[in-house]
Structure formats: C-alpha cells, structure tokens
Amino acid sequence: MLELKNISKKVGNALHISDVSMSLEKGSVNVLLGPTLSGKTSLMRLMAGLDRPTSGSILMNGSNVVGMPVQKRNVAMVYQQFINYPAMTVYENIASPMRVAGVDQATIDRRVNEAADLMKLTPYLDRTPANLSGGQQQRTALARALVKNAELVLLDEPLANLDYKLREELRVELPKIFAETGAVFVYATTEPQEALLLGGKTATLCEGRVTQFDRTIDVYNHPSDLLTAQTFSDPPMNVLPVTKVGNEFVFETSRVDVPTNVSGLADGNYKIGVRPHHMLLEEPKGHSMKLDCVVSTTEITGSESFIHLQSRGAHMVALMHGVHRVEIGDAIPAYLEQKSFFIFDHHENLVSAPTFDSQN
C-alpha cells in the first residue's frame, strides 16, 4: 500500500504539486486524470522516487520512503514513448529486470512465457523491437514492467501513441492483467473515456491539485466540484450560470423549477452542469429548462450526432443517438432535463448530482 501525505513539490517558485494526500491499495488500479501539465507526470515521479517532495511524506507499506533512491524501491514504469532495449530480443527485453535481480533461468523462462502469453507476444519473442509494430513494442514494455513483480507499477499515458482501435483493445485487457498481479497500479491519462474503461479509482488533477479521489464511477457521477466535473467529461459538460429566485432557477428568460431535493437552497447564483447526452432537442416529460438556441455546427458519426448550439453567449453541445439532421443557423429550442442537473454553488462546489443510475 502506498500512502502520500500532504505532498508538495516546488520547482523554483512554481508549485508543481500542491498538498496531495492519497492512499493507494494493493492490487488496485488508480487513474490520474487531467489535462497536459496538470501534474500527472510530476506526481508519478514523486511516487517512483525519481524526485523528492518539497514537503510531505510518502509511505510504502507503512515505512517512509522519502529519500530512498529509486533503485532500492520496487518500482516499474512505462512511458508514453515505447522504451525497449533496441539490441535485445523481445524475450531478453522482458527478462532484463529478472537478469539484473539474479533470478534463475528456469524461473525467468517461466515468467517470460507467462507474460508473453498475457500480452499476446509469444510469436514475437525472437524479434528485436525494431521489427515490431508500435502496439507490440508497447506490450513488450508493459510485459517487462509486469514480470518485475514490482510493488508499484506506474504507467504514464502508455497508450497515447497507439492507434485508436489498439488502444481500445488494450484498455479492455489491461484491467484484467492488473487484477491478477496484486501490485499498486497508477495510470495517467488525459482521456475521461480511458479512465472509465479502466475502472478502479480515479484522481482528477488540475494545476497540481487532486480535486477528487474516489471510485472512478463515483467521481464521474458525483464530481465534488465544477472543475472535476469538467475534467471528467468528454464531450465537455454544458455549464449554465443561473440565479435561484424563490422556487425557480433563472437563466435570462428561461426558468425551471428547483428540484425538490434541493428546495432548501438559499437564493443566489448557481451553476448548472448538464452532460451533452442529457441535453435534448425534444421536450421531455418531466421538468426541464427550455433554451432558445441557434445551431452552430453539427457532427454526425453515424451512430450519434453532436449538435453544437449557441444560446445567449453560452456554447452548448447536445449528443443525440442516431442521425439527427438540423440546419446550421436554425433557431431551435433545447431542453435541459431537471433530473439530470449537476448543481454547483457560487464556490463551484457540488450541491446536488443526478440520482439515477447510482448503483454500479
């Protein structure tokens, strides 16, 4: 188990990591989700022991490892670039950490074959990395990280340089592999979809701060603040500044009843977040807020349609199932369903999240 306690990291005057505390369980997958430069790599370097935190402590199985050099920690790391030993075969590449550790040949043989089997690399064991595709190279790097039996495996956007479909396949396989090894896995990504597919727990990062750390699906369904919700939304969440007046939320000339579960809220300014697939172009049965919009762009993928809308300076996206054709420049109404509101107060902290589908 890896625990970070009030970790901060300053480089010069810039604060790269700001007061991060989190505790990572054995055998768990922990996703670090955030845009480029949000501090994912910095945080991983601290966990690995490549950098020393400016303040705070890092505990591995209860003992403080701050200052312990990375060679002495049992850590494996996989990077975005495919890093293998170019002169060695795939077999030797995978075996290399065990050779360093002085493991006997029979064990090496067994574990390399197991890992190769898992990563579907068995036919390529005799090749050198130059004769492999990008996906195979990255799987070799992953296999090497896995055979090391490290207590902590850090993966820094390992799939970012791979083809879309290959990424999709590995995303499905990786959680199964992770579950089998019992190490602490930390996985950095910029893509919300990837976090959701990996499952486990997710920490959303923004400007060096962990805004939330919880079960992935819980972070998605109950983001603690607007920043987290926006980080964890692809396509981006629609956000509307509203004023609560009596029993109504008001945006310009549009209004909707305040949901009953938050009827006790004080009057004032709030923000409503609605995910694109809850923004509708046809009036739903329940309460909803009607917005007069102008279509700015449409994107049709064949199975879904993204309708980009402008409404009094607010840019919104509606995600519809199937093919939905509307003309650009058309004025059409859009509806924000009351039951799918994320409500944030004027500090942008979550007040209320939609309640449906909270189980699993």
């Binding site: 022991g49 490549l50 950098d51 020393r52 400016t54 701050v66 200052g67 312990m68 050099p69 990375v70």
Partner: protein, 295 residues
Amino acid sequence: MDKPYNNKAWFLVVPVFALVALSAIIPIMTVVNYSFQDTFGNNQFFWAGTEWFQDVLSSDRFWDALGRNFMFSVIILSIEIPLGIGIALTMPKKGIWVPVCLVTMALPLLIPWNVVGTIWQIFGRADIGLLGYSLDQLGVNYNYASNIFDAWATIILMDVWHWTSLVVLLCYAGLVSIPEAYYQAAKIDGASRWSVFRYIQLPKIRGVLIIAFLLRFMDSFMIYTEPFVLTGGGPGNSTTFMSIDLVKQAIGQFDLGPAAAMSLVYQLIVLSVCYVFFTVMSNVGVDKPDARVED
C-alpha cells in the same frame, strides 16, 4: 538538484575535487601571490601592492597585444562561423556520403596545434613548401617571415583550416535534428531557400551556434602555438599576441610579477567577454516572458 540523497555519490566526487584543487586552484593562487609581490631571487618576496597591475595596464605593449587579440578573434569568428554554417548546409543529411563527410570534417581536429603550425610553416616556405613555392612561381611575393600581412593571413588560414570543422560538426548536428515537416511546410508556404535558412534553420541551430561561438572565441583569444611556431611573434611584434607576450615576459625576461598580473588580467578579460557573449546571444530573439495570466 533535489533528487533523493545518496551520500556515497559524494565520495566518488572527492578525487575530482582533489585534482581540480591541485591542478587549478593552487597554481592560480601562486599566480595571484606573484602578482602582488616582487622578488629578487633567493625566495625573498616584497609586497608590491597593485604596482604590477598599474604597470601592465599603463603599458603600450599590453594594449597593443590586446588589440591584436581582439582583431584576430573577430576575423576568425567572422570567417569560421559563416563558413562552418555554409559547409554544414551543403552536407548530405542521409546516405552513404554522411560518414565520409563526417570523417573528412573531423580529420583536422585530430591534429595537434604545434603540428598544424609546423605543417603550415613548411607548406608556406618559398623554397621547399608547396604553397610558398607555387605562389612564388606565380609571381606573388609571399613571405610570412617579413611581411606582416602574409604572417597574419597564414595564421588565420591555419586556424580556419584547423577549426572550421568544429563549427561544421556542431551546426550539422543541429541541422539534422530539424524534423522534415518544417521543410515541407516551408515549401508549401512558398518560402525561398534564404527564408528557409533565416526562419527555420537558423533559429533551430541557435543553441549549438552559441556553443560554437563561445568555443571558437575562447580558443582564438588564447592563440599561442601557431604564431609561436610560425614566426615566434614576428615579424617585429606584429603577431605577438597576449599569450606570446606573457611567455616572453615570464620566461624570456623573467619578470614574474608583471607576467602574473598580466595573466590575471588576461583571464579576467576572457571570462568577462565570454559572459557578455553568452548573455547577449542567449537573449537575442527571446521575447520577454509575458504575464501569462490565463494559464
């Protein structure tokens, strides 16, 4: 900087520290010591204060030598840097000719200074040297031992021949690291060959160019062997650079005090010019960091 501590590493550095202390700091302390004292032999020293420094700074000999040094460095840099960039630009970027070119370029760098001096000294002689003889036959009155211009031209030629390769190799390394997409984009934008150089290649090799510039400046400013081998500083005092003057004073005339003071001044000049160059060159074309509020 703030990597996890590994105390053993410090012990590994100790021998280096000891070496540096013995080889650099102690001799420099000796020089400093000499520059403030006078001696009449017998290991007897008298405090001389800043007298030697005043002497050095008020002597024409010093200022003349310094002038020659600057002139030499300016000429060397203004030939070697453009020439080096030019050659690097014409070198192939891939194919079997790359290693051939690189080895050819590296060859002069492998020859020691005094050998270069000797080669050119002989090469330029009108009686037995190919260059000197040929020029003589063509009716050019070339004699580095008596003509100031010829002596300078020979030394400059020597240095250019010896060291342009360094500039070439550095620039070449910078040029090959420019991604192909930049050239494609420039073609598509209709850029001329000059624009490609001015807006893509030059900005991208700026870093290595600064290094080449500094290395060539320091080295040319400390020129010694070539004029020493060629004419010993002559004809007259025309190629007596500071380093040669220094040796003449220290060994020829045994004026240790003034020589020590002069070498300190010399060192100070090299350091401060390098510092100025470095600061200026690394700031050229870099705009002030703007207040980036939005990110």
